[in-house]
Point group: C2
Chain length 338, copies 2
């Protein structure tokens, strides 16, 4: 069934795209095989991560950016990350408001992803939905998150350009900001720039960036001022985003970093897959009274070949590594040394 | 080496405890074997989770609770979860202030755990440090988190009693609170109760809890008022915490829930272990140019028996499940049916 959906999606069927996103969210079907096909069509989109503290005006700015990119003839996919925190709720609301503005536009697709229930799988879901958008043909993918917790930092690793939005009121926040935020930002925006302290904020940020700058950095992080509500400064922001994308395209990704990212992606896919197999396996197991989860885990690890065989539903006799390889299969370093 | 450390820790050596906590944080050594021994000494401590929005006065209240429990002759371990968000920083500072108050008290041990760098392993680290505290002999373990994101909700699954702290100013927040927060709280506290709206807040919460109450719930969630800064209401809170612990001890944990928690704990231990093995394995692998991480993962899964053998450093011939079992080993349901 997923092959038919994929074919439909590749031909531009939005409903098929929507259903595939749901499969990714619910982790149903053979997602590894599915995503392997999606991957083949990826690599064209400009993925932009947008983050900042609650109240910075992210939703309004995202709304303006959508309009901006649409005017430039680009199709836009939006992933709104809803951290589902009972103390910060509201992302979904903002999302709905935007939905109304762009609901009739075939060139825009907006989807919320919630963390509640996904148990740490949010960055994987975001990565996969982003790939679905890319394969579908969206030229721009906007990924909006609230705050910069670990989940958000993980997500920012997936994008080409990271945009951090602050307001003049974030001044106190900056004092307590740790290095992380300066490191991840490719572009800073001081939104609500008509308010007091905006100029000072912009100047302070620029100085902090100058101090933290290393020789290797060929990209100078711009600090822009916007008034998203009044649609001021949005054009310049759009240009800066496009400039950054052109910059990284031209420069090419650092090979070492690329290898690291690739390894971490493979690790994440494998770990998630094995994790779900472990859960399935646990369903079939009965435990003795003497509960010590670490002893149970230790025992299961000792029986690992059996565990994995069970998980991959293969015959009960374990098989050695096959000598035949597909073009993309991993090769042990050892055997490469000859 | 870890065996010597364990022995020292069991005999009350705080330095050994501190070093074992570092091992758990850094995931060094054979933690599954180590924790299996720690587990055998666990089960006496009252684990209390404390959460609420930033600014609710959690740190001050934790400080007062430590003093309260110390007066009652109980030793207290504290785990302060620092979400390391550049936008919310400050947990570490609060922690340091408390450290000064109780630094000379041998009956108190405070440790911060950060999420930055732990890549989703924060709830496992918290669980394991909590077990180390339990095995060390702390009668009370306070686990303080900021906010209620997914990580915090995961952590609240580890504790016996969940305390949610709000302020009169959280009024608006409550309107947007999702069901989650009402479900996880065993005790509510309205702190800064001398401020306007505290009575109303207390009344509203009580009504909400009454409406949401199900027949199965034998515990009535109290809504207490405190002024942590002035040390008002803290004694009553301490009594409520102790009452809840006595209640769950008497009632016993629901067997079905216990089984679920046990399974999820085994799954977490196994998944984390396999995940780190996958990372080790990836270090030894060379990839071809034609990068498709899903194809690489797919291939690795097909070769899973080999992968796991490699990971567990055992001879290259796979072994079938051994017929001999330890007392705590898992048994397949199938073979139990006879």
């Amino acid at each position: 069934m997923s092959d038919i959906l994929l074919k439909k999606m590749f031909s531009g069927d939005r409903l098929a795209l929507s259903r595939l996103i749901s499969m990714v969210e619910n982790r149903s079907g053979d997602l590894v095989a599915l995503m392997a096909q999606v991957q083949e069509r990826c690599g064209q989109a400009h993925r932009i991560g947008i983050t900042g503290p609650p109240g910075a005006g992210k939703s309004t700015l995202v709304d303006r950016l959508i309009a901006q990119f649409r005017q430039a003839g680009k199709r836009v996919g939006v992933i709104a990350i809803d951290p589902s925190s009972p103390f910060t709720g509201g992302a979904v609301l903002g999302d709905r408001i935007r939905m109304q503005d762009h609901a009739s536009d075939e060139g825009v697709f907006i989807r919320s992803l919630g963390s509640r229930g996904s148990h740490g799988g949010l960055s994987r879901a975001t990565r996969e939905v982003s790939k679905l958008f890319d394969a579908f043909g969206f030229e721009v993918i906007l990924i909006e998150t609230v705050g910069v917790g670990q989940t958000e930092l993980d997500i920012m690793e997936l994008v080409d350009t990271t945009l951090v939005i602050l307001t003049p009121e974030s001044g106190d926040t900056i004092q307590t900001m740790k290095a992380g935020i300066l490191e991840i930002a490719d572009i800073f925006v001081v939104n609500k720039a008509d308010r007091d302290g905006a100029d000072r904020m912009q100047a302070e940020l620029t100085v902090m960036l100058e101090i933290g700058r290393t020789h290797e950095q060929a990209w100078t992080v711009p600090v822009l001022a916007t008034q998203a509500f009044h649609n001021i400064g949005v054009r310049e922001l759009g240009e800066a985003l496009t400039a950054h994308f052109a910059f990284i395209r031209k420069q090419g990704v650092n090979q070492a970093k690329r290898g690291l990212l690739f390894r971490s992606e493979v690790a994440e896919i494998l770990s998630d897959e094995i994790k779900s197999q472990v859960h399935q396996w646990l369903e079939t197991v009965q435990f003795d009274r003497n509960h010590n989860p670490y002893l149970v885990a230790q025992q299961a690890l000792k029986e690992a070949p059996w565990l994995l065989q069970h998980a991959s539903s293969r015959p009960s006799t374990p098989r050695r590594k096959s000598p035949s390889r597909s073009s993309s299969a991993p090769t042990r370093k050892k055997s490469r040394k000859r």
